[in-house]
Amino acid sequence: MHILQQILFLVILTAAGYLISRRVRTIKRTIELGRPEDRSDNPSLRMATMLRIAFGQKKMFDRPIIGLMHFIVYAGFLLINIEVLEIVLDGILGTHRLFAPFLGNTYLYLIDFFEFLAVGVLLVCAIFLIRRNITKVERLQPTRHRELNGFPVIDANIILTSEIVLMIALLSMNAVDSILQQRGNEHYHLIGTFAFSGFLKPIFSGWTDSALVIYERIAWWFHIAGILAFAVYVTYSKHLHIFLAFPNTYFSNLNPKGEMSNMPSVTKEVQIMLGLVQPDNEAPAEIARFGAKDVKDLSWKNLMDAYSCTECGRCTSQCPANLTGKQLSPRKIMMDTRDRLEIVGKNMEANGGNFVDDGKSLLGDHISAEELRACTTCNACVQECPINISPLDIILQLRRFQIMEESDAPASWNAMFSNLENNQAPWKFSTNDRFNWADSLKS
């Protein structure tokens, strides 16, 4: 009997591992479609940034109550994993509460602490469900934010509900375990009553031993299989931020937020045009596209940003364009980028690892010119993101494609460009009049 359980457990564990690794490979491959961008400098500052922003959740505490609640779920996730390690080992070895004999009383306290976290996670997830579905926090409402319609809303509720169900399984399993211990069932080591699940014991006190054993086994299997299924699900979900937040903050942009990245290919042409360098007669290497039209024109970091986004909408809630009713939503920019990446990833999988042109692109099929043109480049979205995602960087690269490859600009921008070319000012004033302001001072 035991050996069958062990084999079944190993089969489930291996299947989950296989599905996760296959999915990770796909995500990695799609991220690598992006342009190269060097983010390897200054490793100590990068490490400090990751520890502060991702591990320490510094930006989440900008909104202290939400920050605290999120921290409870996060700490729960990190620390309950220690118990999951025991459960996995029990599953493989056919043992029961493997660590208990080694830790003595400490084991009881440890499980008490995990139960404390589990109750915290359960309560906070319930509050989060209420915020989404009952008190209807504005930034989480699909009626107000079109990008949330469909799967994103379902995704969020699946995640929160799964966490609640998993915590209930864990707590009720402990309650039943404790009853069985006290009844002297030989398989269940006597540890004692756990701090929180103890309150659930009256529910089960009238059950027979065999009913309790069956419940305990079902809860145990449901809990661990649930965790593994959830781990697979996460890789398809916005919840992927629980892993990607760490590399994503490590590879943060360390330059001032106001700095736009340079385009060296343009620098060379400009220098030739101004006669500063001689054109080399070699045939130019493959001429890259100016700006970005599709995901593969963006940098790998932009693409990692897209997979890291958990759609919290803090960016959109601070965006001046979105606040005043424009089409632009920085969250939608990130979600569109990810949606397009998913399409490209599936395309590659179906075509032996190579992308076959589907006649579609990020710009146009997902993100419109109107959205791009509403951006004031104010950096509020970049400032707000708890894991240092930059929607602005994507917006500006798409703008570059629009202007430089498609000459698609509003008429007033074209007028501004020609003023700049002719008068070196964005308005139609003569260069000769540039110093006239000083006349009143000098007279």
């Binding site: 364009a321 951006c375 302001w437």
Partner: protein
């Protein structure tokens, strides 16, 4: 200081001809050169430089747009043409230190010219004014005209979030002994005036409201009758917002340099 003080605005060319070199180059910017409202800020800042005895120069007709609006709109070619030509002029004069009253010029000169070969120490006028105050070079007469008055400060995105300059403008206002009141959205949470990213040069996309109207409501809610700004685009947008609310008789928008100069 005497009212009849003779103000001088030397150009780099004149300095070079006289075999002199200035302590700072005052980068005026397009708005400071051509926009009627912001020209007053340029003049106020020049008066401060004269009164404090700072040896400065301007480029005059040799200055041209940094290229910021072109780059933000997506026209990288035009930006780099402007930048490369400006760097040639600046390097030709051996410029080391630049002060500007425009956060967009400030950001571009400071953060984006180095990669194209232009390396200068670039300071925004709010920081420069703070330095002058700290050094005791600016003295207010009797605490100045704005002493005790309620003033609110609107953060420019290109100073604040873009370059983490939040305190210098506030330090300048505090030196005026004003009653500085903050808007509900300020510093890192400050709401944009709506003009950045080349929006200044186009109509807004369609929506429910103009951004500057949303922002002026924050400012008016403080009860302050003076709105301090540190950016030519913010100046335009906030002034238009005041007009939209028909408050131009009671609420005034001033640049930091104007507030300081009026109190010297």
């Amino acid at each position: 200081m005497s009212q009849e003080m003779e103000y001088k605005v030397p150009t780099m060319a004149e300095m070079l001809a006289a075999n002199e070199s200035p302590e700072i180059l005052f980068w005026v910017g397009c708005a400071g050169s051509f926009d009627d409202r912001y020209k007053k800020v340029t003049i106020a800042f020049c008066k401060i430089l004269n009164k404090t005895g700072i040896k400065f120069a301007v480029l005059g007709t040799e200055e041209s747009c940094t290229g910021d609006p072109a780059r933000r709109a997506g026209n990288e070619f035009l930006f780099q043409m402007q930048a490369t030509m400006n760097i040639q002029v600046l390097d030709g004069y051996g410029v080391k230190k630049i002060v500007t009253a425009c956060p967009h010029c400030f950001n571009t000169l400071k953060n984006e010219y180095p990669e194209l070969g232009g390396n200068y120490e670039v300071i925004h006028h709010s920081e420069f004014l703070q330095q002058l105050i700290n050094a005791g070079k600016i003295k207010m007469e009797g605490g100045g005209e704005f002493k005790g008055k309620k003033i609110t400060y609107h953060d420019s995105c290109y100073l604040g979030r873009a370059n983490d300059v939040y305190e210098a403008p506030r330090a300048v206002l505090e030196a005026l002994d004003t009653d500085l009141v903050e808007m509900k959205r300020c510093r890192t949470k400050g709401l944009c005036c709506g003009a950045g990213g080349a929006q200044m040069f186009k109509e807004p996309e369609k929506g429910k409201k103009d951004i500057n109207v949303e922002r002026i409501e924050d400012a008016l809610a403080t009860g302050a009758n003076t709105i301090a700004v540190a950016c030519p685009f913010c100046m335009v947008m906030m002034s238009d917002g005041v007009k939209n609310k028909e408050k131009e008789d009671s609420v005034k928008v001033y640049d930091l340099a104007e507030l300081i100069e009026a109190s010297m």
